[in-house]
Amino acid sequence: MSSNAITRFRKLSENLERLRIALTPWFRVIIRLLALPYWYLFKVDRSICRIGNWQIFKDFVYIVCVLRSFPGTYYPTRLWEMDRSEWAFYYGSILDPFQRAALLREVSQYEYHVLAKDKEVTLRVCEAFDLPHVTTLAILDQVDNYKAELLKLLKLNNHHKLLIKPALGSCGENIKLIFLKENQVWVRESEEVYPLEELIINQRYLVQPFLEQHDDLNTLFPHAVNTIRAITIFDKKRNRSLLLGAKLRTGTRKTYTDNMHRGGISIGIDPTTGRLTNRAMDYEARFYVDHPYSGIPLLGFQIPYWNESVNLILETQTKIKKLGFIGHDIAITAQGPCIIELNHQPCMMGFEQAYGPIFKNKASWEFFRDHDLLINQPSRNLYQS
């Protein structure tokens, strides 16, 4: 009787948990609906999108009601410039409630996110699987004598520059550059520069040397490591990894990071050749033909070691299959590609902005269909005829 009561209680809590999981996306949808007017009024630049407010309104309604997405992608991917039938080829944001719930359920279990979320865990996993990754010289936190340690690392290893990255950071936030200048050690954080003595850290940081990237990428933009962002998914049914696409990110204004949030631009990569495509955009959805810093034409620019990079990306996904959906940040050095970091929730919106719609590749669409990841009718109907 008593063990029955415990079993019943456990079943009840399991059912409550299931209910919570089922209701969460709907709850999130309501919050997003409340945010719609704000997006409509302030997140579409009318000087670039000149189709009129009524048309924008109708497009928003279509995206919400038919594509079951939040129109956060509307402006960055410049959807107004294309026919509505093309919109279904876009997956949209991974943070959209239904998309997110389906991904968490089918391919990217929440509890394994730590493999990419915590950079120290990523480092350990890469080490265990012999995957080439950027060297980590030390892991420091507020308890350590970090200033002395950084000074020592800077001088002992003869590195001119070090990057320190928070183990739990994202979007390039709180990444600091430590460098020697005129016999003094300085810290650069975004636009601010201050002496090392003033550095205060309050979380776990990974200390890494500033990578020397491949000369070809240096010609494009030399002040930041220009990384490849590739997105892969692991197909459990067929036990293989699938490359959804890739883009190159480059810095623009002497920033030491290449993140789009920090002013960088992204350019799509043709996965078969490793050459840049004509889709080059910044965070504000402005197009580029030449690199704004070096003036080098972007279309056709060849990424060095492309085949090796693709092999590394697929190998990483296959080995780390517990995390079924990965955004890989890959740097190319003179010796070949190496992993900078992995992302458990790669920004699909920014990705499709540069790479283009992922369902243009039928294999990607088939994977999403087979794993029940297509959440609206138009995308389910693609390729049906």
Partner: protein, 382 residues
Amino acid sequence: MNLIKRYYRFRSFVLETIGRCRPLVRQFIRFLALPYCYFRMVDWKTCPKTRIQVAGDFAYLFFVLKHFPANYSMHRLWELERNQWAYYFGSIYDPLQRYAVDRELLPKDNQILTNDKGLWHIMAKSLEIPTPRFFGEIGPDDGFRDRIHSLLAAEDVPGLFIKLQRGAGGRNAVLARMIEGEVVITDAIDNVRTLSEFTISKTCVIEEAITQHSEISAIYPYSVNSIRFITILTQSKTVHEIGAMIRFGVEGSHVDNRSRGGIAVRIDLESGVLSGNGLSTLGIDFEFHPDSGTRFDETQLPCWQQIREIAKETQSKFTFQKLLGQDIAITPDGPVIMELNSHPDTLGFEQVCGPLFQNRNTWEVFKEWDLLISRPVRQLYS
């Protein structure tokens, strides 16, 4: 932008509030379960107190010490003065204790690193922590029988341990051995099956069934008798050893888990000598091992200083969890870490090793991490 920032601030406030309320809700559910504990979990045959006295003790434990009184019978608290009860940490699963421990020492995100045994092996490989050889994972649909057969045929191993990837307490662990060219599977309660009769319903990990040190085998040869060593990382990143006990299987079982009938004996941390008698979960005292007749008290464990070193090194390397229950086996070549437990069973541990806060250093480390839940516990040593 401000609006979005404000929304996120509000959202994190709501989530934080829910997080804070969760242990209170759980404590309330336990309050509802108090009558069950009172009627079913007290050994009334051995408890000399009256029902009213026990009810008073329960109220003191629940409302003053903020424990669910599951440890009342287990720790025979009726034999002690109430002021001695505060030296017990109690169960790590008690809501308030668990909330504090998870908040400070065991971030929820990191718990998978030890709860998933396959992932633990990956982490151990990278951190160079000695473990039994790991042969990967098998699932119900990936030809696991062929895999087991080929591993046993090809590898120089005495046997394979097949455990649930996410199991605990030795549940569903089986031993696969090659006997006269046939693969034989033995489960925890000694049922023997052929490979074709063996099925798995969830992902499992395959490890080498290690050969243990002869001195440990002499006490009980059929299971790998492992040491449960609990360590905690201090705020200054030094390792504090909370205590250690060793567990032995009984009656031919090939697992040593106490939940499967095993016996545990306290280990003196300084010397590595067994101290006192063995105890089963039911509190039955064993001066000698029931199978081999070996006397537990004053038996010296082999490789003890090496074991301590490895336990401390593991805790200092594996900083993702600042409190670890380490299961250590002793092989002829030295100790290996079998697995790490993110929420070691402190209730059973205190039953064997005595109250955690008897050691003032342990109390101080818990205080430093703000893990002391009730006032009487906070006032110890002050």
